[in-house]
């Protein structure tokens, strides 16, 4: 097979678990933002009760996808190539922003401003192993960490907003969280509960900001536009894409 023929080969970029995870994650996030703002601003679109019920239904959906399915998707790769070491290596190259990602991101910025002709290839597919070495846009690798932290924070502030004395098997989780918030809140001249509400709102705004950056800056690029279809529908990767680098390296263990 010629090199060109090899490059036009189609492979699977996102498997069905990853596609459904992303879809559920996106739906949950959008509904949570909408219903949260609905409650906050007192909009008339639906009743407070319905907005709150929808909000509460979407919390476990988001948490299940973000804290269970996403880690499953990340950690289920690399095992065949090298066991635990392979998983760690896959995680490092696939999800941690490293110096290669910095170089790629710099190249993208330079390309945007016309200072560099070539758009950097941020997806690296190894045809020898049939797996990706890395595939995410470098900016996503930063967003993943920030988003993960923000989801954790909005979840714990949400617990306190849901019920200030929420506990599980007698452990007063909400009370402890309020105490912890109370350690930080004096910086902003607030009490713990006030800080939790303020932070919950601030993080909601952050998710809107991140959504715009994620979906309408990074993915509204002619070179990566096809990944919309890939992540939501067919999961395909076209190896002739200008953002894909195909390598042929045997793994050494």
């Amino acid at each position: 097979m010629s090199e060109n023929a090899q490059k036009t080969k189609t492979v699977e970029r996102y498997n069905w678990v990853e596609r459904w995870t992303h879809t559920f994650h996106a739906i949950a996030m959008l509904v949570l933002i909408f219903t949260g703002l609905h409650i906050y601003f007192g909009w008339d679109i639906m009743t407070f009760h319905n907005a709150r019920v929808l909000h509460m239904v979407m919390v476990p959906v988001l948490i299940l996808t973000n804290w269970c399915l996403v880690p499953y998707g990340i950690l289920s790769h690399g095992w065949q190539e090298g066991g635990v070491k392979g998983v760690v290596k896959h995680f490092y190259y696939g999800y941690i922003f490293n110096k290669d990602d910095f170089r790629r991101l710099k190249g993208m910025v330079l390309n945007f401003f016309g200072k560099q002709e070539k758009y950097p290839e941020f997806t690296v597919y190894n045809k020898a192993t049939g797996h990706y070495k890395t595939k995410l846009h470098p900016m996503f690798k930063i967003f993943i960490v920030v988003e993960g932290l923000c989801i954790f924070l909005i979840f714990i502030t949400g617990i306190v907003l849901y019920k200030v004395d929420w506990s599980i098997i007698g452990i007063p989780i909400a009370h402890w969280l309020t105490i912890i918030f109370g350690w930080i809140s004096p910086i902003l001249n607030m009490n713990g509960l006030e800080f939790a509400r303020w932070l919950h709102l601030a993080l909601t705004y952050f998710f809107i900001f991140e959504l715009i950056c994620h979906a309408f800056i990074l993915e509204f690029d002619t070179k990566v536009f096809k990944y919309w279809r890939s992540i939501f529908i067919d999961g395909k990767e076209y190896l002739d894409s200008p953002v894909v680098q195909v390598i042929d390296e045997e793994e050494h263990h």
């Binding site: 407070f48 200030v164 004096p186 009490n191």
Partner: protein, 383 residues
């Protein structure tokens, strides 16, 4: 509401309030309020307390407006004097109420304790064995002298120190005494005045007791003013041993307030008479529109107090019912953290005076513009 009260009275009426455990006692105290509590158990209390020696209460005034005294005096069921009588309390010293005056001639106190309040205070402090009620904050400035707040010829800091050292327990009454209140409002002179609460100043634990090295049991009853029920029922619980002064941890919250009156498990917003409007999304943008007052600055969602259940002026009304937003007067952050009073807290400036809504609008707006510019540029480059 009236039928709920009757049901509660029915539920508690056959209770031997002196024999019940602490939890049930405090539950009755919280649920009934002073009016019903005293009318139900007045005889039991009188009989029980008659067996004990009279309890002396020494009431000091620091930097304050006397609003908490007025609030206590406005308690109508029972009235102030009746409550003292029911609880077998002797109010031995209260500057606003006592007949004596502080008389000095050539810098020396004259007369005796029957005529001169200064002499009376000295004698009472020397005798000890009283509950000290502190109303108002305690000035530490300038430079730790306490001279910002002089009473007669002494700094109030010194008067408090002497009285606190010989007290059996201290009740800090009102937000000034508990956390500093309006006397610690941010200003250019705040650091020179250095007003402090008894055991806590704003969110910082310690207060004047830490400065003076005083280690006495302290119960905080914040409020601007404090509710008369909170005071009398706390005193009743202490006198009957239902609040163990040597073991306050389970009774008080993290800010030293009795949990029965300042419940950590819910907020004032939960029981607000306007709560239904919030649930329907009827959020007033201006005053007197009749809906929820959150957007005009109501702080009830962050406040722990039972005002909405207990109500004020003999159970008549409360701030939100009368059309005024809650200003979080029972919280340690009051007033700095609840100002501006008529601005929703989420909209108040926090980062260099800019509120989070403005920051978000700028960031989201910039992201939308950037998305548009990016898309146009990429499409053009592709061509």
């Amino acid at each position: 509401m009236a039928s709920e009260k009757l049901n509660m009275i029915e539920q508690f009426k056959n209770l031997d309030i002196l024999k019940v455990d602490r939890r049930t006692f405090l539950k009755a105290v919280a649920a009934l309020g002073a009016t019903s509590f005293v009318s139900l158990y007045g005889n039991q209390l009188t009989e029980a307390l008659a067996a004990f020696p009279e309890t002396k209460v020494l009431w000091l005034h620091g930097a304050e407006c006397t609003g908490c005294s007025e609030s206590a005096l406005n308690g109508s069921s029972p009235e102030f004097a009746d409550a003292l009588s029911e609880l077998n309390i002797s109010l031995v010293y209260h500057e606003t109420l006592l007949a004596q005056q502080g008389i000095f001639v050539d810098g020396k106190l004259v007369g005796n304790s029957e005529l001169n309040g200064e002499i009376l205070l000295k004698e009472l402090v020397a005798a000890g064995g009283y509950i000290l009620v502190v109303e108002g904050s305690i000035g530490n400035g300038p430079d730790g002298t306490g001279k910002i707040n002089m009473i007669g010829t002494h700094p109030f800091k010194k008067i408090y120190e002497d009285a606190a050292k010989n007290a059996n327990a201290i009740i800090a009454l009102g937000t000034c005494a508990t956390y500093g209140g309006i006397t610690v409002t941010d200003s250019d002179v705040k650091k020179y005045c250095d007003f402090m609460g008894v055991n806590q100043t704003e969110n910082k634990k310690g207060g004047m007791n830490a400065v003076l090295g005083i280690n006495k049991p302290v119960i905080n009853l914040p409020g601007c003013p404090a509710h008369p029920d909170w005071f009398f029922l706390t005193v009743a619980a202490v006198l009957l041993g239902k609040i163990d002064l040597n073991n306050l941890e389970g009774v008080l919250d993290g800010d030293g307030r009795p949990k029965v009156f300042y419940p950590p498990q819910n907020t004032l917003h939960d029981n607000c008479p306007r709560r239904g409007f919030y649930d329907r999304g009827v959020l007033d943008e201006r005053f007197a529109e009749g809906g929820c007052l959150w957007k005009v600055g109501c702080k009830a969602p962050y406040v722990h107090a039972d005002c909405a259940l207990r109500k004020w002026n003999n159970g008549t009304s409360l701030c939100m019912q009368a059309g005024g937003p809650c200003i979080a007067c029972v919280e340690p952050i009051f007033p700095n953290g609840s100002m501006p009073f008529y601005v929703e807290r989420e909209s108040a400036g926090v980062l260099f005076g800019v509120n989070i809504g403005t920051v978000a609008a700028l960031a989201i707006g910039a992201a939308v513009v950037a998305a548009g510019v990016h898309a146009v540029r990429r499409v053009n480059k592709e061509k």
